[in-house]
């Protein structure tokens, strides 16, 4: 029988299934229906039950693997080792693995690829099952927008096997009408993984919607002028139900944390709405946000590069416009 599709669920710091894993499960289910392949969810953690139960809202069958060695350890190596061992031992061995394109997802995918000798297609913005063409057999076709969205590519695997990393918001998570079943995977401890101990977990901010998952991003650049400008942007983002983003210049100035930096050495985002204030739109920032559905920019410099790719470009004092826009949205909300 042709190999199945496994969705590897990611567990957050509190033991819950991540939002992106729900989306991956929904995308995996669609792939399973289109291909007729079996689909299975897998959660590997020291306490996998809560996340496995959540994954079963989206998939008919889920395996909860209680990995004692995951306690106090960096997760990816443990997850990759367990999933590779399960795949080797499975009656119906998997052909494809779906994970979220998160730091842990990428780490796990790299290790699984090396262990299983199969390829990886990362940062999928679209996914479909298609019949054989040229050098690729029947299988998933993955659309990606590399180079900051200056190109759109469609790729496949040259064998009937591969790992796919999904971008956030590729699909909306849709639960099953009747929830699936959770079975316990093999437990015990595995010792083939080099030890990386977690000595301490330092929490410095509350986990809001990440800038990569947000539907609306209010972003600030050097033109914001200082940390006070980001306080104003945070208020505006709150009114829009969005997240705050920043350019490298604003992060380097210490006005915003690296976690929200958008661009070449920061995050790549694709929100429905991007609002940029005092953002010039230099190439290093542009490659991280130019595939946003709608781009609005406010800048006092009429020659700012962002004018060339914004849908609406307002020439004006960004601080005054932020204040007026915040007031207008507050009035609208009544």
């Amino acid at each position: 029988m042709a190999g199945g599709i496994w969705v590897v669920g990611e567990v957050d710091g509190a033991g819950a299934l991540t939002k992106l894993s729900r989306e991956a499960a929904t995308a995996g289910r669609a792939l399973g229906e289109a291909s007729g392949r079996e689909i299975l969810g897998v959660v590997v953690a020291d306490e996998p039950d809560a996340a496995a139960a959540s994954l079963a809202d989206f998939l008919p069958n889920v395996l909860a693997v209680r990995a004692a060695e995951a306690a106090g350890r960096a997760a990816a190596a443990v997850v990759a080792s367990r999933v590779a061992a399960l795949a080797a031992a499975a009656d119906a061995s998997p052909a494809y693995f779906l994970l979220g394109a998160t730091p842990d997802g990428r780490d796990t995918a790299g290790m699984l690829s090396a262990r299983l000798g199969i390829g990886v297609l990362a940062n999928a913005t679209s996914l479909a099952w298609e019949s054989a063409t040229g050098v690729v057999p029947d299988g998933p076709r993955v659309e990606v927008q590399p180079w900051g969205g200056r190109i759109q590519t469609r790729s496949g695997f040259t064998a009937d096997a591969g790992i796919i990393l999904l971008r956030p918001n590729m699909v909306a998570a849709a639960p099953l009408a009747a929830r699936g079943r959770v079975a316990d995977g093999p437990s015990g401890s595995v010792s083939d993984v080099p030890v990386v101990r977690v000595v301490e977990r330092v929490v410095v901010e509350s986990p809001g919607p990440s800038v990569e998952e947000a539907r609306v991003i209010v972003s600030g650049g050097r033109g914001v002028g200082g940390p006070g400008g980001f306080v104003a942007l945070t208020e505006l983002a709150g009114l829009l139900g969005g997240a705050v983003g920043a350019t490298r210049a604003a992060v380097d100035a210490g006005w915003a944390p690296y976690a929200i930096q958008i661009g070449q050495t920061g995050k790549t985002v694709k929100p429905a709405l991007y609002l940029g204030f005092g953002v010039s739109g230099a190439i290093q920032h542009k490659v991280g946000m130019q595939t946003s559905d709608t781009i609005v920019a406010v800048n006092s410099d009429p020659d700012a590069p962002i004018a060339e790719f914004a849908d609406l470009f307002v020439i004006g004092d960004q601080a005054a416009v932020v204040a007026a826009l915040t007031a207008a949205l507050r009035a609208r909300a009544g």
Binding site: A74, D107, T108, G110, G119, P194, V287, A328
Partner: protein
Amino acid sequence: MRIVVLLKPVPDPGEERLGDDGRLDRSVSAVINGNDEYVLEAALKLVEAHGGDVTLLSMAPDNLTDPIRKALAMGATRALLVSDPALAGSCAWSTTQVLAAALRTLEFDLVLAGDDTSDGGAGVVAAGVAALLGLPYLSRAQRIEPVDGGIRVERLSPTGHDVLEAVLPALVVGTQLLGEPRYPTLRGIMGARSKEIAIRTLAEIGLGDGAVGGARATTALLEALPPSPRNAGRIVREPDPTVAAAAIVGFLVERRAI
């Protein structure tokens, strides 16, 4: 401490394009991948503080030595470049095999790699290298410091950072937060001319059996399209911020964005 830095020459960001063969055109001017410069800087600081040397390891066409020469000018000790015509069109899996095989020919305490690359961006190669070599793997580093017999890394998490520890040898993947890379000095540039860039073929690192490279790619590009064109933007030149804000609200309502 003997450190190997995985360094990728990439097209200047914004200049990437596909060649007629559907592969990344590597004839455009190349630079050091942005994230790799941060880990190189971290490596140079580590050996300045604790002794040792820095070896660069790259896989690239052998005409792309400018970025490697720059990294030598910044202070790296030597470079190993794996270059072979069979590697054109390699996938991430092949790259992983090649870097792991090349590392097997080197002696090291620590391998450093940048978070991801601007031309490929999958960010999966370093993790695969660690898995193949059985090395402890510590990614998303904002800080790297040696501790007795090992390494301590602050790894970015969604809510802050985790403090990780492992024994050496280990592989660490670093981010921009490691610190601004230095510029090469004139003395560094002069000195780099006499430093060695050892070029090795696949056979010379034990992979001459055709098991890796473009012909064994695990993925295939089927189609490449320019992005859907953006309609020409609207420009508002309005000195009164209240009127400008009203124009933005009107636009967002029209776009059904709010």
